[in-house]
């Protein structure tokens, strides 16, 4: 008998080991976020004491800028990468905790208004991206990924759709790079446009929640304007996120009908699988706050916990954005994404102006 080939045994990684691997990166997120907070507090004071004119820069922008500086100069060493990637986890925990600052009635009222706007935004975004993708001769599945990424919730939607429509890895990395690069740009352009147009906190928050693709960037773009705008941006973006399952299901059915993806068996189970569960957590905490389960001080404590979680998220947004890596992904998807995003931003701004008149924001 021939000798058996001895294959190296793959040892399952223990959860404790996995957790310890996250610690350096989580410490880096904390350090960058906290440095942003310290800079916000001290730079203004220092400038004032030296009679300099210096704009008040919020901790959100400092944290993102420090992260960008690290990521685009020295880079993120391997040891930190797993922990830095937890910024999405902190974002979701922060959104759930933010639910305590909304009464359920307000969520339903604001969410109901947002839902109508979100439905229009999704239809517009899918339409624009599909037309632009065809005009630029992009591969149809890459066009689908860009459309879903800009219509619903950026990277998460692209990853969810990639599996459902059996798109190539290359297509999804092109689409993710385009959405991330445009998200980074929106952080700097949206607040400037909002201030130039003298948008109210409410109108600006809804606009950034509607037009900025990634949830982390939407939350950051809102918080860069004001605390109230940040809250509304998260609520509107969460409404968009809640619809991810329907959009992914529609694309999966479309590609399956063309014989280029697997057929969907149980549609309800597919929707539940794709549904972002943190939306339920947000609604549940909001319900508890509505029934006065938390007193005023406790709501304040939960709001501050949410701010800490967002601080780590904003640090992560800067740390994971590497412009050289994004530039390597090619110009065409970026051009389609950029033109589409500008159109979506303009149209959603029009929608928000219209809604402002109807709802008196």
């Amino acid at each position: 008998m021939a000798d058996a080939v001895v294959l190296p045994q793959v040892q399952p990684v223990r959860p404790a080991v996995q957790f310890f691997k996250l610690i350096p990166g989580m410490l880096l997120l904390t350090a960058v976020g906290y440095a942003g907070k310290l800079l916000e507090q001290n730079v203004g004071k220092y400038a004032k004491s030296h009679h300099w004119t210096f704009p008040n820069i919020e901790y959100v922008l400092w944290a993102i800028l420090i992260g960008l500086a690290i990521s685009n100069t020295v880079g993120i060493p391997q040891i930190f990468r797993a922990g830095v990637a937890t910024y999405e986890f902190w974002l979701k925990a922060g959104i759930v905790l933010l639910g305590s600052r909304f009464l359920l009635g307000d969520v339903l009222k604001l969410g109901g208004a947002s839902l109508a706007l979100v439905a229009i935004e999704i239809a517009l975004a899918i339409g624009f991206m599909t037309l632009l993708g065809r005009a630029f001769g992009l591969k149809p599945k890459l066009t689908s990924l860009l459309a879903v990424g800009s219509a619903v919730c950026g990277v998460s939607a692209i990853i969810a759709t990639k599996g459902a429509i059996e798109a190539d890895d290359e297509d999804s990395s092109f689409a993710i790079a385009a959405i991330l690069a445009l998200g980074a740009l929106s952080l700097f352009t949206f607040p400037l446009i909002g201030h130039a147009l003298h948008l109210t906190d409410h109108a600006y928050g809804v606009w950034s929640g509607l037009a900025v693709d990634n949830t982390a960037e939407a939350a950051a773009a809102g918080a860069l304007y004001s605390d109230a705008a940040g809250k509304l941006a998260v609520l509107t973006k969460t409404t968009r996120n809640a619809l991810i399952g329907f959009v992914v299901l529609a694309y999966a059915l479309y590609w399956a009908s063309r014989g280029q993806a697997q057929a969907i068996g149980n549609k309800a189970s597919f929707l539940w699988q794709k549904f972002p569960k943190f939306v339920l957590g947000f609604l549940l905490i909001s319900l508890l706050a509505t029934f006065a389960v938390f007193n005023k001080d406790q709501i304040g404590a939960l709001a501050n916990l949410s701010r800490w979680a967002f601080l780590l998220t904003f640090a992560g947004v800067g740390l994971r954005t590497n412009f050289r890596e994004l530039a390597k992904q090619g110009l065409k998807p970026f051009a389609v994404g950029a033109i589409g995003e500008v159109l979506i931003a303009v149209f959603t701004l029009g929608l928000v102006y219209g809604a402002q008149r109807v709802f008196h924001w």
């Binding site: 999405e88 986890f89 902190w90 974002l91 979701k92 925990a93 759930v96 905790l97 305590s100 972002p276 569960k277 943190f278 339920l280 957590g281 549940l284 905490i285 508890l288 389960v293 938390f294 001080d297 406790q298 304040g300 404590a301 939960l302 501050n304 916990l305 701010r307 800490w308």
Partner: protein, 43 residues
Amino acid sequence: MSQANGEAIATKRRGLSLDGWAVLLAFALAALVRAGVFKHIPW
């Protein structure tokens, strides 16, 4: 389906998703605040 894929899917099914862990952490923190363990969270 390869064994590695099968194991990966099985592991995914066994564990909580990222969303699930985030919700769990948020509720654990909310419970600690409600119970008075964390009385004041500075900002």
